[in-house]
Symmetry: C2
Subunit: 420 residues, 2 copies
Amino acid sequence: MADILFRGNIVHAPRFGELQCIEHGYIAVAQNGLVEGVFSDIPDRFADWQVCDLGELIITQAFCDMHFHAPQYTLLGLGMDMQLLDWLQHYTFPEEARFADADFAARIYSRLADELVAGGTTRGAVFSSLHTDTTLLLCQILESKGFSGFVGKVNMDRNSPDYIRETAAQSLADTERFVAQCSLSERIKPIITPRFTPACSDELMRGLGALAAKHGLRVQSHLSENMDEIKWVQQLCPDAKGYWHTYERFGLFGEGALMGHCVYSDDEERRMMAKNGVWAIHCPYSNVDIASGIMHTRRFIDEGIHVALGSDIAGGASLFMPHVIAAAIRSSKLNWLKTVKKEPFLTVAEGFYLATSAPAAYFGDAAGFAVGNPFQAIVVDDSRFAPEGQGERRSLEERFERMIYRMEPCDIKQVFCGRV
Amino acid sequence: MADILFRGNIVHAPRFGELQCIEHGYIAVAQNGLVEGVFSDIPDRFADWQVCDLGELIITQAFCDMHFHAPQYTLLGLGMDMQLLDWLQHYTFPEEARFADADFAARIYSRLADELVAGGTTRGAVFSSLHTDTTLLLCQILESKGFSGFVGKVNMDRNSPDYIRETAAQSLADTERFVAQCSLSERIKPIITPRFTPACSDELMRGLGALAAKHGLRVQSHLSENMDEIKWVQQLCPDAKGYWHTYERFGLFGEGALMGHCVYSDDEERRMMAKNGVWAIHCPYSNVDIASGIMHTRRFIDEGIHVALGSDIAGGASLFMPHVIAAAIRSSKLNWLKTVKKEPFLTVAEGFYLATSAPAAYFGDAAGFAVGNPFQAIVVDDSRFAPEGQGERRSLEERFERMIYRMEPCDIKQVFCGRV
């Protein structure tokens, strides 16, 4: 541990839609792991700091994955010819049930955590299964690998097979235990996680709302993902004002609630999200892979709703966030076409922001490599994307765009998780 | 060179929408490089053949990329915030002009050919630049790496900058020379390649039609890719019955013509394609990346039009065909949603067929690993997609689906290009 100046090609997103690109610049990281500044030249006050020269490599922000299901890691790329509700019954529920087994869970979660961090995803919000002990194990494993964020024990007491269902009372008692134990962790914090309305009785929802209020906890769940799911919610909750209201009436739709998908959120739902400070987590791969639809991301942003990206594995077939960024851009281009160019598509700079600076705010950081942020960063070797070699005529901004579209985990040479 | 039985997990596509999956099966490849059959057990007549045991690896068909631009390889992942016509002016034309330089061309084309073949793309139809000598160089390089297929010197005599434009007379004379020299190659054959209608005068189109007829050559070009492009074609050719007719009236829209994109082909255009035996080459990544739209792939197939896939690099940001297959499936899911479920989306088996057996017919092969086909195959290690290890409970068909969604070039362990 020492004060270090990293020298390299620095790219970060200090504002939505804007990249700052500094060729052969410096980023100062103090021994406490916090960023002290980004510079073109070394300021005098850092004259005696150690320099770590990364040459032509690109230093940029690490990613946050704000919606994914850890126990679905083994299902990546499977069942993609199905839609949400069939896919849950055929693949998801049987697989999640296996996470009752601690040995199995430890093995799979370790591999998942390795793949996440090696792929530059150092923070996020995670759904586990309904099993309390293996969810606690997941927290330990994620923390030990350098990942930080929010993990939820999933709550579900209806409309799933016997082998993957709890009673409301048991679910609430287990959640109390999970919250107490998980809160002891330094980097992983508990989050209240009703699976989604069809899987949670009113009794369970009410209890979870009370728990969230009692402990001052945030909430994550699913919202308006798929037309069949929405119709089902209407049937189950005929008195609700909308899907959003099935959470809101139990205190589960407040400041910092993370709602995955929001593909079909109507005007009222979006208004309530903006008003309550609820986040919309856009999962573009999942929405296409299980044929849910396309979220109107631009509309949410314009309306002042917090938006960030999620891989939603295994609804989405990749957990590598650059893939998810490119998928978000691609989905937005189709919206742009569909709306006769009324909803401008996401630029690369905007897509990147939604996977980095936007969700970093959820963890209390300022945007980009701001002074005082933990150094959450990746170092990328993009040389294989330049067939011309070192003589190529591309700007750092162009190289960065190309990197987002073309990189794979193997191109990431170093990952920093908030400590040096 | 010997007669070999490859043992492994064999997957191939003998019919559209159908995979044959044989766990621990055998594929017999004679020393002439032709397939002699696929078997669950070794038939007596092969008893003395050498066995090459590939264990748990998956043996499947190699890919064909039926529409891509070799001199745009250096542009992969660049300029993706632009649309077609802007992108051509800003990125494509200046870059293609550099391929006047033989040293530069040799260097870039070698890397391209390596990446193609290592990624399992062993056949295809290729656009070069307008430069005859470096196009011949491209043919030599592709052939030397094991790639086979069709290569076209691009023809363009209007609506491009001076530095990347020919006269019609020069373009035709150069094409004659290109055809004569390229025809001497064993694995690479010439194809007549008007860039697209906006770039070709009537005089040039007429001459190219005559050349195609004289030498019995096939044609490749672009068709109905982008709304602005279509309007431009209407302005340039007010007397044409449609975009298709701007080719057809010069004899450039006949049997085996490969037309890239077809995003906005109307009923009449599709009818003429079916009638004339013209192929629609679906380039799903490109159509989204440069925001052109989504081709109605299912409709073309139902109407009996030949359909195959293309990466269209660098309009599309990836030349790895499994990415393109997944992109085709994803685009078809959005069509399925848009058409209120009238156009069923492509299954994994169907998407795979469009990148393998369908285009193989263009080269005279029967579907799948049919007897008498050249052994065009890849061997894939999918073990890293199975976090559970060898004990996992997935069928070969499930493993194959997962492989299509998740594989990267590094997962391909061997590539066979039609010879053992």
